[in-house]
Subunit: 341 residues, 2 copies
């Protein structure tokens, strides 16, 4: 290991105190021009780089943010991350990404690690219902900002989508196209997004006096494989009376659903209509173009970042927690068949 050059070395060489060097670096206290230039020159000469770790210890601030999401490979979360980064990176923050794989235990373990690392904030898309454990972290002073999902019992800042309304509108559209037998490919109901999207779904059916058919419903992890397998199974068990349309509750499940349909030889939309919450990967290459709820992941990230900054500048403990709801837009394309009445 190369010997580390410290503020002390700089001070010595420049014949000033370490305090002065510190002041020059941070520019937060007056320093005479002459001294500043001298110190600057010495810093460059020695190739000195401030040690962020030492600073963190002293200042009790790490300029690190943890981002805990179910699946880091999902583009939706990567897009959120980019949004966050666009706001935070210029301020000197670094992001630590963590994938929970929708596993409560892993989620808790990751949060614990981030807690010990003393990250300044955690952006959390939780897959757990264990608000008690999360509350424990908050009580310990951890700054959690929830994204995508929420836990009602928890006092945190929050950036989520308008799951219920968006789904309601989307399903209403499907019904308007003449569909009566609509299936739903959903995540685990323990997660708020799954719950809210399902409620929107049900409410749309109910509002149009369509009974909800439990056997058309699939529930599982929010991922491609689960959707693929469960949809296959669901369709097989309903072979005698297939649904005419399917609603996939996220982008990954949409892809899995399409894989299942393809394998079973069911064409979209001729044999089965499909609508989804969030868009699939490379939609440009896939036929037909899907009718979807377009999410605004970048904006979610950006808002979360801004919330963080706001809270960071405002040390008053009693500031209200903010709930930001990002509207989601419906994009009608070609994956819903117009049924004869």
């Amino acid at each position: 290991m190369n010997k580390m050059i410290t503020i002390k070395d700089v001070a010595q060489k420049a014949k000033v105190s370490t305090a002065t060097v510190s002041r020059v670096i941070n520019g937060n206290y007056p320093v005479s021009d002459q001294v500043r230039e001298n110190v600057m020159a010495t810093i460059k000469e020695l190739g000195y780089r401030p040690n962020v770790i030492a600073r963190s210890l002293k200042c009790n601030k790490t300029y690190m943010v943890g981002m805990v999401v179910p699946d880091i490979s999902n583009n939706y979360f990567m897009d959120i991350a980019r949004g966050v980064e666009s706001v935070l990176s210029p301020l000197g923050y670094s992001l630590i990404f963590c994938s929970t794989d929708e596993n409560t235990e892993k989620e808790l373990r990751l949060l614990n690690a981030l807690n010990e690392r003393r990250v300044d904030f955690v952006l959390l898309a939780s897959s757990t219902q264990d608000s008690g454990k999360l509350k424990h972290f908050i009580d310990q002073g951890m700054n959690i900002i929830m994204i995508d999902t929420k836990l009602d019992e928890l006092q945190t800042d929050l950036v989520v989508e308008d799951n219920h309304n968006a789904t309601y509108k989307l399903i209403s559209y499907v019904i308007g196209q003449g569909h009566q037998r609509i299936g739903v490919v959903n995540g685990l109901m323990g997660v708020s997004t799954a719950r809210e999207r399902y409620e929107g779904f049900c409410q749309a059916l109910t509002a149009h006096h369509i009974p909800i058919e439990p056997s058309y419903r699939v529930e599982g992890a929010f991922d491609r494989m689960t959707a693929y397998e469960e949809v296959k199974r669901m369709l097989q068990r309903n072979m005698h009376d297939l649904p005419t349309a399917l609603f996939a509750a996220n982008n990954d499940m949409a892809e899995g659903t399409m894989m299942a349909l393809k394998e079973m030889g069911l064409r979209i939309p001729e044999d089965m209509s499909l609508v989804t919450f969030g868009d699939i990967n490379i939609p440009e290459l896939i036929e037909p173009r899907l009718t979807i709820i377009a999410q605004n992941a970048g904006l979610i990230g950006q808002k979360a970042g801004e919330l963080m900054i706001k809270r960071d500048n405002n040390t008053q403990e009693d500031r209200e927690y903010e709930k930001i709801i990002i509207p989601a837009e419906i994009i009608i394309r070609d994956s819903v068949k117009l049924m004869d009445h």
Copy 2:
């Protein structure tokens, strides 16, 4: 902010010294069972969590590794990251991901930030040719492990793919199918992967006495949009004499190429054959199935992680740097047309 509970609080309450508490936590020095249990109980009672920052400062080790890649949204790099994580996470390391967008300046800026953060290692898929600047970091004691790309002038551990040979084989196969006019959609030649893949490509043509047609060559950033636009332009300018096959030098460019082909109404493989280095997203949904070089991203990450651990355990400065070359396998599917001779 909640008052932080320190090792001192624990020591006081348990009526032992801080050293003893430290020993109990780390388990690296003998402590009597009785004392240990007492301390453990106190830790739990107080909800004490060790402060990793303080530990880092003292031990000169952060248990953080930076991962710097051109595009964090590219599944290839995410897969590498997962491989790395599978090795490192159990050892208590956290990963900081950074995207350079193939921008040299940004790459250097990110490396600098990681350097100041005193990450233990950096896994770098570099897009720059400026080995001088990188060498500067290494001289400062930064531990860089190069992945995917390499810089010949640089003394580092290395995990890369067998770009040249894999491409040679793939293109030879294409030629074997009767193709003589083969285009290449490549990344910037400043990057080693682009260079090596191009060399493999050229060598295959040359070995079969096929002249290299410069106007069939596209060069640009390793991303989807670039490929899409440049391929469109390239095909338009060769309308009178199109290539019969295209080689895309990475997964993103393959997708962009497919978008261009689709838009121009060229079917794969009837009108244009396509082979690629690395597979596209959701290949299950795309027709036809592509003939590709299958990368083993997870293995690259794993090897890089292992290299890191090895170096970490071996403080001898003089240890040889290791060059690991991951073989890449060709998967023949349906995207190359058999030409009449």
